[in-house]
Symmetry: C3
Subunit: 367 residues, 3 copies
């Protein structure tokens, strides 16, 4: 199936940096999750994704398919955003939902992104970044708690379309209700980095009912998506306590990335009406296997539960190629499902439209 | 490979309800593991299985392929059993092994099933249901223990061909030997629901040697198969303590469902002579991926270790389509294995016969 | 892709036994991980690998494709090594790295292997076997510790090209730094078998810096590879503490086997420059799925991170067929990746050469 004509909503993406990469190592760093300089130097150039990316960028910019030529050709554009204006129209991207809590100072804001690219942009607020800002400003735990409740309670009014939690790579997805006493004992004024499990879990359980009241979705980082993550703690099955809580059914839960726990995420999405998921990051990082991940994702979970995302950041190549790899893989997965005889041609078309945009429109309430 | 001519033994199935579904929601509920009303209302109609099922039932009953038309056409039959008499002959089902511990009052008994359908039926006794009956009748822990040992010790004589445990979705598969004191302390006369880990684990370890003495197989629910299950506790690797116990090698162990832990179940079946497994429930619930699960199941484990089951319940559609999906997927998986060159044509035929019936006949001692 | 012309380095293999198998059961035992006599008797003959192996050996030796005929035909050769001289030239094996800690008395030494087969052979020292030798000779914990540090510190000088740990099937891969007091308390002079977690973990953390100083790689048994292993403890994600330790980055880490945790191993190899992995044992034991495991292995991890190994032992059939299955599967996986369009023909060729030998040459410093 050819899905190039269907515009995508990328429901989990990061902004472009203000300036071009300083060198090849900085360029490569956006196309791997490894932060290890030796991995960047010796191994990333031998990854399927990076090799293919160089060929594609070279073809788009009209230069030789080498890293040096690509880096040189990119410099003809004043900034990453200028390059995006060349590459992104090829990707038919309708809407972007930005996590604004990652590398904040070096990144363009959603407003700047929209101005530079003409693509409709929305903000997703990273709860841990918000909490760390408030911790820095709070002298006491009660002050923090009050500020937190006010901030989380006002997210929808402030224009956010979702919250996001990176608990998976701080203290894990087994997020437990915690007494205020325990959280207060873990609070240290001035200690900015939020790495205390009682404190983070407490703040999240404070936030959940406020999100539910606003009908605001929460995105959870799951599985492969950050070298910081202990993957044992990033299994989405650990979210069971949150997902089973009857009072939180009005808080849509989006499981991001999910690899290698795609089947587990599919089970959760097949079980709970308020749970949906994506296969970002491993698509496009593992492009040769992308159709397989999507076949797994769609095998149990209804097609109303899978979303598109790239998790791209920094340079515009990722946003562009993410959409390309995903559309191609989804077309292959749906064609294969159609060949089994269990999916009709019309259903495959409906499913493609749902996954590439319809589900995100419904869950985030986008017009 | 076309396997339609091979009769199947469905070694893990539930009975039909006495009456037709009250409405569309009740109809849908048998074709998903979700108990969430909103999942039933908004998402199940977009699942691969349910959409395909409506088309197949419509074709079989000669009505339009819509849910409303299907529900209307079904009403021409006096009961689910009457409908089964139309659908089941298309599925070439030789024998059914019934778990009689699920929704007991609303379901036909194996005897009634056999009378209504003419298909040979055997009983599998759900140990937790048996225990709960005895707990309700026991005034003391010693009374319970004595009644339990008598009941379990008499299962074979009472006509059961196997026992079944749903420990996976009560207190988990890490079933540990427990002292009687600890179990007794957890016993509460009159508290029917068996959700205490010391008490359930104790009763199971009391039962295991009695089952071994009778050579009676035990089925364990594993992995995806109930919304109640915490999937972290339903991994079959947790059964290691039971499987390693030398004195229990005469108790055949059947791992049911297994998805997403198909590889783990295959490892156990490749390691222990007394362990076998199936891929029920995800087949037929995830039909487009069925050939893949079976390829995984058959990659390490000998073909003498995989069984057929549908885990269908309530309406006769599941029993019928389960056999159809499974035969088609098994034929594809074996044909693909043959194409690799590692499986001869004759071996693929032998394996099909073993998986669809021979293994169940051997393990359950069916004539 | 036809890779038969590329010589392989088998970086994880065991030696041949001195004498032929006593009977069919002893023959079968080398082609399964099960130690269960009933599995050997009733099920191994129905495994894909064993059935195919009999056909291949029969064709090579010119006898009927039955077990009895194969066992008879093998007796025409004076020893397993004599048979190897017939079979191994068909496998184009360049170099073998031997774990010499398994069934030591019954096996040929690397020197004997090289003399008998003409294939370049290197030694990998199994740390637990080394420790057990030293424990048997030590009267006190301090004596053991000193002897251990001396032995491990001298591995490179003694000719070893790597160390190997089987902690996964003793006390698990969550190998933790342990105080000397705790380890000393677990030391019992004369108790040969090393099954104490504090003692084994302590010895390994003593060894790691010494290996890093020598730049000597360590192989970790991971996942499916021994019936002894509790697979819950054999997940490579448990190694996180070792892999994150900055001072150990000069100790290359090789994850052996990895199935069913192939995706998890791929994530680690995509994250840490000093981590690489293989898919041994499940290739060739699960030959019909081999191309799928390799596709998974290569989907995220750079091609510089995957190695070839057979994990064969005892009879020469495994070393021979291991190389055949692996080459065929790798050729199929790379051809499939090329068909997706993400891998060029030249890259697929480069990757094949890296996986079959180049990566092992680089990591082990072989000429």
């Amino acid at each position: 199936m050819d899905l190039t004509g269907i515009p995508v909503i990328d429901h989990h993406v990061h902004a472009l940096r203000r300036a071009h990469p300083a060198d090849a190592m900085a360029y490569r760093a956006a196309f791997t999750e490894s932060g290890d300089p030796l991995q960047l130097r010796d191994h990333v150039p031998h990854s399927v994704y990076y090799r293919w990316l160089l060929r594609e960028v070279a073809a788009a910019l009209g230069c030789a398919p080498t890293e040096a030529a690509v880096l040189e050709a990119r410099r003809a554009y004043a900034s990453p955003a200028e390059l995006a204006r060349v590459l992104w129209p090829k990707a038919n991207i309708a809407t972007l939902l930005f996590d604004t809590g990652f590398l904040r100072e070096q990144m363009l804001s959603p407003l700047e992104m929209e101005a530079a690219t003409g693509i409709r942009s929305f903000e997703v607020v990273r709860l841990e970044a918000l909490a760390e800002d408030l911790i820095a400003e709070s002298r006491t735990f009660d002050e923090l708690r009050e500020a937190w409740r006010a901030a989380v309670g006002g997210l929808r009014a402030g224009g956010a379309v979702a919250a996001k939690s990176i608990a998976a790579y701080r203290t894990g997805l087994a997020i437990l209700p915690v007494g205020a006493d325990l959280a207060a004992a873990a609070f240290r004024p001035g200690r900015r980095r939020l790495a205390s499990k009682p404190l983070l879990d407490f703040l999240l359980w404070e936030a959940f009912p406020l999100l539910a009241r606003q009908g605001l979705p929460i995105q959870f980082h799951v599985g492969y998506g950050d070298a910081d993550a202990d993957q044992r703690l990033a299994n989405p099955l650990h979210l069971r306590g949150v997902l089973q809580e009857p009072s939180l059914r009005d808080m849509p839960v989006l499981l991001l990335h999910c690899y290698p726990y795609v089947r587990e995420a599919g089970i959760l999405a097949a079980t709970y009406a308020h749970v949906a998921f994506d296969c970002s990051l491993v698509i496009p990082l593992g492009p040769a296997g992308a159709a397989r991940y999507l076949a797994e994702a769609l095998e149990l979970a209804p097609a109303t539960k899978l979303l598109y995302a790239s998790d791209a950041h920094s340079w515009p190549e990722g946003h562009w190629l993410g959409a390309r790899v995903y559309r191609k893989a989804l077309g292959e997965a749906l064609a294969a499902a159609h060949r089994t005889g269990y999916v009709s041609a019309g259903e495959a078309e409906d499913d493609a439209a749902a996954v590439l945009g319809g589900n995100a429109r419904r869950i985030y309430g986008l017009a």
